[in-house]
């Protein structure tokens, strides 16, 4: 196992020790013990930056199910590296922050950090796995662990609701993604992303190509909270703020972005892919920013802003995918690849400023007891450092210089402007909408950024509206957002270093050809000259945005034009309630509580299923050529069995029935003796004896033996079912001889002595060749035993209670 594979499992393995730290060292915040893990991983990953920047990549395989082509293959290239660095880097800061945010005394810290480490490992698994099945496994693990994190304060109804919602939406997207992966597998015969990308030329003619694309996109869109699946993200804000900062800004929601970027080499250059990804992205961008302006809760505002920013990154990836359509030396190719660069650049920028903003909001919440902007205000003088961070983060998000958001926003404007003159996929008509939507959304983005800063930190300070008297946060809570905002500034001044070492390898992973082969410029610069349209777009954004912010009250009535019930949340809730009621009705129909009914269903299904198969496949063949001759002993035994079996039905007392049942069992044992299977005969004999003892134990207490009084109709029905089952089983037994689909494997076991050193073949099969069966069998046995024990103990204790209450 290589270090890279181990890196994925390190957080998950380490999680085992968390309860130990929590219990044994209660005087130290458990977070301190967790902190080294992401930090060490981050340092380990940074060591591979130089190799990756030189065009290298790492791949390691640990075989898991090699016969199915499912192997635990890790693949580290520029794209994976960006995500992995974010996961570990932001992870370190978030854990540092959480040490001061979560109270040692009140919170179940061990649970929190176990979930967080589990999530971290899963997330690393998603971005580093090359095998589709393994990727899917980790993908769903992120859904599960984020469910646990969102529901961390599970005593609250809203936390549970939010957790369930995010789980339902992301998991259903994940399942459709799995279907897409399976389609890809059936087209290429491989689970490896690398291999599929190499085979891509022959893919696009397949009839499964478009369905696979749509299904995979569904997975990506649900995970990245794209319109209309964005509804889970605001509800997920019930999670503790460190979780929001980590999952909902820097990592989990970026998994969908990663997936789209990863599959751009497979699907890029297709009109469907281009249109869906860029349009959904733009719509999400617009809708997120539009809805964010109306929010009064700071965290909800950030949630919608995250949705909108994710939409922006998504749309840039969509526009960049056109690069696959053009020849590598054309101007259009250059512009398209710029869009991909911008997407990855903004991905990193967004993680820095949004992470910081979430932490800032957490500080405000922590120190004042509220996140409602109607109650906040005037915190600037009381919390100057927090205010500085908030301002830097918000201005970066609004796209103002000198912060990194400005650079990526300018590149986004270039992308939408060039996309509209690409002249492909009918862009000449609808393409005009791209810059318009992008610009309007940017204005709204500017407005909510200003709301975030100025409503919270300027104006009148109203201590009577706050639950606590505000003061500056402890230093430990300020350092993590401080580091993030310093990145915000540093990246603005040194974007080229960032581009050379981190971004270009990432773009190279998405583009069709290596970067050196293109006359390609990756100059990220803040200044494009006076005549650049991007600059004037930004200027207009600032002017209009400021006006809108100042006169917010006069136009906010727009929002009341939308009826409250007309939202995707209503649809989601209706589906939830509907499916619950529907399944309840259905379940009531067949779960009657009568054992007889259940047996009826089971037997009727057996008759129907097996009967149909036999009938449909002409499976009923009597082939007597292989039969051994029947001798007189066997005939006698069979007649005894038959008489005993029929006798049970007519038995007058329970004792007779038990004895007749015993006769049946012993006769079967004698059959085993005749057919030379002494092991089976022994087992059968002992089982019969033990079960007879069991009967003796409870015999005295069983209710009186009486014939059931049932109507003629029911009797007739029982007769039909029982005759049916008997007939079907007989038919199956008779046709087994005539339908040999495979060669007998018994010759393999003849080597038992050589292979397993056992002269007793039965035993060699049980313990050597099919030991897995045996192992699970005794497991089932033990569970059944415990089940009987629990049932009986539970019953008697309840009985005692009743007696006591009387």
């Amino acid at each position: 196992m290589s270090w890279l594979n181990f890196a994925i499992f390190l957080p998950i393995l380490y999680a085992v020790f968390i309860p130990f730290f929590y219990k044994k060292v209660p005087s130290v915040h458990t977070g301190w013990f967790v902190l080294p893990i992401p930090f060490v991983l981050f340092i380990y990953l940074t060591t591979s930056i130089p190799d990756i920047a030189n065009g290298g990549w790492f791949m390691h395989t640990v075989s898991w199910i090699p016969s199915l082509g499912i192997n635990f293959t890790t693949y580290l290239d520029g794209l994976s590296l960006i995500l992995a660095l974010l996961i570990t880097g932001v992870g370190t800061l978030v854990i540092a922050y959480s040490i001061f945010y979560l109270s040692m005394k009140r919170e179940a810290l061990h649970n929190f950090y176990i979930y967080l480490l589990l999530f971290m490992g899963a997330m690393l698994g998603v971005v580093l796995s090359d095998n589709l099945m393994v990727l899917y496994l980790f993908w769903e693990l992120t859904s599960v662990s984020s469910f646990l994190l969102i529901a961390f304060w599970y005593q609250r109804d809203k936390s549970r609701y939010g957790a369930q919602k995010s789980m339902l939406i992301t998991v259903s997207g994940g399942i459709s993604m799995l279907a897409g992966f399976i389609m890809l597998h059936s087209m290429t015969g491989s689970w490896s992303v690398r291999y599929i990308i190499e085979e891509v030329g022959s893919l696009s003619d397949s009839s499964l190509f478009i369905p696979a694309m749509l299904l995979i996109l569904l997975g990506a869109f649900t995970k990245s909270a794209q319109f209309p699946f964005h509804i889970w993200l605001p509800d997920a804000m019930e999670a503790p703020t460190p979780v929001s900062a980590y999952l909902h800004s820097a990592t989990m929601v970026k998994a969908g972005i990663y997936l789209v970027a990863r599959f751009t080499p497979v699907f890029g250059g297709e009109a469907t892919w281009f249109w869906i990804v860029s349009m959904i992205g733009l719509v999400t961008l617009f809708w997120g920013s539009f809805t964010a302006v109306r929010q009064t809760d700071l965290k909800a505002l950030l949630a919608y802003s995250t949705i909108s920013q994710l939409g922006m990154i998504m749309s840039m990836l969509g526009m960049g995918s056109a690069a696959y359509y053009f020849a590598p030396d054309s101007k259009a190719f250059e512009y398209s690849s710029m869009a991909i660069l911008a997407a990855l650049f903004h991905l990193i920028n967004h993680s820095t400023f949004k992470g910081a903003l979430f932490m800032v909001v957490g500080i405000v919440d922590h120190e004042t007891g509220t996140r409602d902007i109607r109650r906040l205000g005037g915190l600037m003088t009381i919390m100057p450092i927090t205010f500085t961070f908030a301002a830097i983060g918000s201005f970066a998000m609004a796209g103002l210089p000198p912060f990194n958001g400005f650079l990526s926003k300018e590149m986004f404007f270039s992308a939408v402007l060039t996309a509209s003159d690409l002249g492909i996929f009918h862009m000449e008509t609808v393409g005009l909408m791209f810059p318009i939507i992008a610009w309007v959304a940017s204005v709204l983005t500017f407005v909510y950024c200003m709301i975030l800063v100025f409503r919270t930190f300027t104006g009148n300070y109203n201590p009577e509206k706050l639950e606590k008297s505000a003061h500056e946060a402890p230093i430990g809570m300020l350092i993590p957002p401080g580091i993030l905002v310093s990145f915000v500034v540093v990246i603005f001044f040194f974007p080229q270093t960032m581009a050379d070492y981190i971004l270009n390898p990432g773009v190279e992973a998405v583009l069709p050809i290596p970067i050196e082969d293109v006359n390609y410029y990756t100059q990220i610069s803040a200044w494009h000259g006076w005549h650049a349209p991007e600059l004037w777009m930004t200027v207009a954004v600032v002017i209009l945005g400021s006006l809108l912010f100042v006169f917010l009250r006069s136009w906010q009535g727009v929002y009341s034009l939308f009826p409250r019930d007309w939202s995707f949340n209503t649809v989601y809730n209706a589906i939830l309630v509907g499916s619950e009621k529907g399944s309840e009705k259905l379940t009531e129909k067949y779960m009657t509580g009568s054992l007889r009914h259940y047996l009826l269903y089971i037997f009727a299904f057996l008759i129907l299923a097996v009967g149909t198969v036999i009938f449909a496949t002409n499976g009923f063949v009597i082939d007597r050529s292989n039969d051994a001759p029947v001798n007189i002993y066997e005939l006698i035994l069979i007649s005894i069995i038959a008489i005993a079996a029929v006798g049970i039905i007519f038995a007058k007392s329970r004792l007779t029935a038990i004895i007749l049942n015993g006769v049946l069992g012993y006769m079967v044992a004698i059959f085993f003796v005749i057919f030379r299977a002494p092991d089976l005969a022994l087992t059968q004999l002992v089982i019969e004896t033990v079960s007879a003892a069991l009967f003796l134990l409870c015999f005295f207490f069983l209710p009186e033996w009486k014939k059931e009084n049932v109507t003629r109709k029911v009797k007739g029905f029982n007769l039909v079912i029982s005759l049916g089952v008997g007939t079907i089983v007989t038919l199956v037994m008779l046709s087994i001889q005539g339908n040999r689909l495979f060669d007998s494997i018994s010759s393999y076991f003849e080597d038992a002595y050589k292979l397993a050193g056992g002269k007793n073949i039965v035993n060699a099969i049980l313990a050597d060749f099919r030991a897995f069966d045996t192992m699970l069998e005794i497991l089932v046995l033990a569970i059944a035993g415990l089940g009987v024990y629990t049932l009986i103990k539970l019953k008697s204790s309840e009985g005692n209670d009743k007696r006591e209450s009387k």
């Binding site: 134990l697 005295f700 039965v762 005794i778």
Partner: protein
């Protein structure tokens, strides 16, 4: 209701040991002759059941204080661990090894990891059978 069961008690005092010996024999014979962990365990369990039938539960518990639920659990655990241990030698899960050794009294004997696996099976079988029988009989009163 007091029943005179002197005959049963006297017989079972001797019979139990015969059955127990037989059970151990079956267990050890397993690899080459009819027998094995499952049957061996069942026979051992039936010997214990006989004891419980002849004497009452309290008396037997004083002599053989075993928690059969725990026993079943340990049995499963032993079997699973046997399977896992083969992973440390780089072979497949549940891979069994055997070899021949020259032991002082027995002469050349085959020793195999299957025996450890079978111990787990036997423990699980005995534990389960007696858990069920004891809990049902305890429920009666």
């Amino acid at each position: 209701m007091k029943v005179n069961d002197v005959i049963l008690q006297t017989v079972s005092k001797i019979a139990t040991f015969i059955i127990l010996t037989f059970g151990v024999y079956l267990f050890l014979a397993g690899h080459h002759e009819p027998g094995g962990g499952f049957i061996g365990g069942l026979v051992l369990a039936s010997a214990l059941v006989l004891l419980y039938l002849a004497f009452d539960i309290q008396t037997v518990e004083k002599g053989i204080p075993i928690n059969y639920r725990l026993m079943a659990g340990i049995g499963v655990l032993v079997s699973v661990c046997t399977g896992i241990s083969s992973l440390f030698y780089g072979t497949n899960f549940l891979n069994m090894e055997f070899d021949y050794f020259n032991l002082p009294i027995f002469g050349e004997t085959e020793l195999t990891t299957v025996t450890i696996f079978e111990i787990g099976v036997s423990l699980a079988v005995i534990g389960t059978a007696l858990t069920i029988i004891l809990s049902i009989s305890e429920d009666v009163d």
